[in-house]
């Protein structure tokens, strides 16, 4: 019998802050927007949620709902560190741990019962293990497929366990409100509403061909599988296209080219280092920027040569940006993404001339190694740019 756990840490960033600052325990903690009312809430404690604050809410709104809250800066490196510790705990319970974000992972528990006992008991043990060793709580969903497990972990939050027995998937889905169905976004819900579909039962009544005709091949097939409690394959290990992205909301809208250049440089290193860490390289570079008027623009390019240095990511991203930006409109947010990711660390095509980026790639690899040993070096060119007034709010 296949068994999957989906383990999701409760209010992760906020809980880490409460862990590191005991005086904040039991209080409303909001991560993101320290000393400012810009950007969005990255995470908030359950105490803050009682005020109606939720993640991705603009900080100014959170401040009006919860003026007494403790607003903390985002300390990504610390969260990463805690995350790595927790993931190492998971490794002790399952040979197949699939981390899907900084604070959640799937554990394939198939065939472990004879060794470890009933899955529900193992889940409770893992929960206790994280509390004992790290001091954080997690919620666990248990099901025969990843899709159901993912939604189950959300059922009894915080510090809950939700066990969906084999054969109970259908009923579980039936009880799930449509907007809670994982993989259906706002647009999807709107499309469904326009066809007068408001519940899982209503959606289940339609044939596959009708769904595909009305919502497209991919979405139609997805709905058809999902509402039957089967795994539509969102979390299958081999994903067709992946991307890594990072964006930053500026403390103040700016037209300062040097500042923007510095930020792009930093984002480029951030996304590229994440790829390099996993032994991957990318083909496509994308940028995004939001003007003070909230008009968002995106652009991307796929250079003929493989991108394998952060400096290279920066130079393409900067070119994409400067070609489009009018150099006058104030910028509110910028972001870089890398896509068409390949599982190799060196490019497929060799270069004829010694590529300066090749040397930079080597340097960057070394920096990465040093960092993984706990060294604080970020990048050699750190000193070039003014790095004040930066607040990273989202890490997707």
């Amino acid at each position: 019998m296949p068994w999957y756990f989906h383990i999701d840490l409760d209010a992760f960033y906020a809980s880490v802050e409460q862990l590191d600052h005991p005086q904040l325990r039991g209080r409303a903690v909001i991560v993101g927007g320290a000393n400012s009312s810009r950007g969005v809430v990255s995470a908030c404690s359950y105490e803050a949620r009682a005020f109606g604050v939720h993640s991705a809410m603009p900080i100014f709104k959170a401040r009006s709902l919860c003026p007494e809250g403790h607003y903390m800066p985002v300390r990504m490196q610390r969260y990463q560190q805690v995350s790595e510790h927790i993931m190492s705990i998971f490794d002790r319970y399952s040979p197949h741990v699939q981390q899907i974000s900084i604070d959640e992972a799937f554990l394939d528990m198939s065939g472990t019962q004879s060794l470890m006992g009933p899955v529900e008991e193992v889940a409770a043990r893992i929960q206790q293990h994280i509390i004992d060793e790290v001091g954080l709580t997690a919620s666990i969903g248990i099901a025969t497929n990843k899709y159901i497990a993912k939604m189950a972990s959300d059922r009894n939050k915080p510090c809950g366990i939700c066990f969906v027995p084999s054969g109970g998937e259908y009923d579980f889905i039936t009880e799930t409100p449509l907007p809670k169905l994982w993989g259906i976004g706002k647009q999807g819900i709107m499309a469904l509403h326009s066809k007068h579909i408001h519940t899982v039962q209503q959606l289940r009544a339609y044939s596959l061909s009708w769904l595909q005709r009305n919502f497209g091949q991919a979405s139609g097939a997805f709905y058809h599988t999902a509402v039957r409690g089967e795994d539509p394959g969102i979390f299958s290990a081999v994903t067709k296209s992946r991307s890594v992205s990072n964006e930053t909301t500026l403390e103040e809208n700016t037209t300062d080219e040097q500042l923007l250049k510095g930020l792009f440089h930093q984002l480029a290193h951030h996304v590229m280092f994440r790829l390099m860490k996993n032994g991957l390289i990318a083909q496509t570079i994308g940028i995004k920027y939001k003007l003070s008027t909230f008009v968002t623009r995106t652009a991307q390019c796929t250079p003929a040569k493989t991108i394998y240095s952060a400096e290279e990511v920066f130079s393409y991203a900067w070119e994409l940006f400067t070609q489009r930006w009018d150099h006058q409109s104030p910028i509110r947010l910028i972001g870089i993404s890398l896509s068409s990711i390949e599982e190799r660390s060196e490019p497929l095509q060799d270069e004829l001339f010694f590529d300066t980026y090749q040397r930079k790639h080597e340097v960057e690899k070394t920096v990465l190694q040093l960092r993984s040993k706990g060294n604080k070096i970020m990048k050699a060119s750190d000193l070039l740019y003014d790095r004040h007034h930066i607040q990273r709010h989202k890490d997707s």
Partner: protein, 367 residues
């Protein structure tokens, strides 16, 4: 300004003008073509600020003068008109275009030619002569290797130098390189090596007939060409071209000789199933044959064997198939040679027996 002209002759010149004018420009005087007539000649000028074009056709000048009008619309109008004589007449700030003896009337707003950017002129003494046959052969053999990666702008053109022994043209995108050194009968002046935008060279290729004498000049940051009734100039790419000599292998240990036509046809077939993102093609060379193959993918695979002449150890190379396809299309000799030393070092593709050009290809990883 007023003249009459044959529609066909004018249309031909305006089509070239429209090619020069960058369609990406927002509407401005640069979207216009300049017309100037005197002494039964019409001079037509167009520019995108980088490349400029000028040509002359014979017309009947009624009243000398000059103006500029929106080239795209003029082209559309000329295309739509029936064959025959047409009259172009400036009336205040408008130009009237009408075929003679017919009741068709087009009015286009004009902008004074005084506002049109000045064309660069080059000192007469700097011009030197090259046969168009030689120049076009060199363009054909190299231009496809130019990089379109604008972050490496210095590779966005064809490198030209006086090699001491004729003209040398080189183009590269950093992964393959095309080289040609043509001995020129005429005397060459010494000039600093330059990087020429492909747009300029493509224009020469398009407009210049084989076997005419063509005059070239290089001055400051410009290159000039004139032939027939055409004059073309272009800004040069300001940058440092990489030292191509360093990547030309001095000696390669092995050589495999193949029939060009067979190689080209096989390549076209096998490339149908080559993975289109990496474009990686495998070339296995043995004493009996050369086997071209694609990687096995979800769709399937392809392989083909062609006879060859080779006396070394069997070897497998991997390359981007386009890097072989482009040169094979412009090599006209019956046989070609693939020269190499190791699977991870530069490969040379060229005519067999050797001539005055070759193509260097950097291989891809085998696994």
């Amino acid at each position: 300004m007023k003249f009459t002209s044959s529609k066909t002759a004018l249309l031909k010149a305006i089509m070239i003008a429209q090619d020069i004018i960058s369609s990406r420009n927002t509407l401005s005087i640069l979207s216009n073509v300049l017309l100037e007539t005197a002494n039964n000649l019409l001079t037509i000028k167009a520019t995108d600020l980088s490349v400029s074009f000028e040509t002359q056709i014979t017309v009947d000048t009624v009243e000398a003068g000059s103006t500029t009008i929106y080239c795209d619309k003029l082209l559309g109008i000329l295309r739509s008109l029936p064959e025959g004589e047409i009259e172009i007449d400036q009336l205040d700030s408008q130009v009237v275009i009408r075929p003679l003896f017919q009741k068709i009337d087009f009015h286009l707003r004009s902008i004074s030619s005084e506002k049109y950017p000045e064309m660069k002129i080059c000192d007469e003494q700097l011009y030197f002569t090259v046969s168009s046959r030689d120049l076009i052969a060199m363009i054909d053999q190299t231009i496809f290797s130019v990089s379109d990666d604008t972050t490496r702008y210095f590779l966005n053109g064809v490198y030209l130098e006086n090699g001491g022994n004729g003209l040398v043209m080189v183009a590269t995108d950093g992964r393959r390189l095309s080289y040609m050194n043509r001995i020129i009968e005429e005397e060459l002046p010494s000039f600093k090596p330059v990087i020429i935008p492909p747009k300029f060279l493509n224009l020469i290729k398009k407009l210049c007939a084989q076997d005419t004498q063509l005059e070239l000049a290089i001055h400051d940051n410009f290159i000039f060409a004139r032939f027939d009734t055409h004059k073309i100039s272009s800004t040069l790419i300001d940058g440092k071209f990489p030292n191509y000599r360093r990547v030309v292998p001095e000696k390669q240990h092995f050589q495999c000789i193949i029939d060009r036509e067979m190689f080209l046809e096989a390549l076209k077939r096998v490339s149908l199933l080559v993975e289109q993102k990496s474009k990686r093609l495998f070339i296995e060379i043995s004493n009996e044959h050369v086997r071209l193959s694609s990687e096995e993918s979800e769709i399937g695979k392809a392989e083909e064997e062609i006879p060859c002449e080779y006396y070394g150890e069997p070897i497998t190379l991997a390359i981007n198939y386009n890097y072989a396809l482009n040169p094979l299309k412009v090599i006209h000799e019956e046989r070609v040679s693939i020269s190499f030393t190791e699977p991870n070092r530069a490969i040379t593709l060229g005519p067999f027996p050797e001539k005055d050009y070759f193509h260097i290809i950097m291989p891809m990883q085998l696994d």
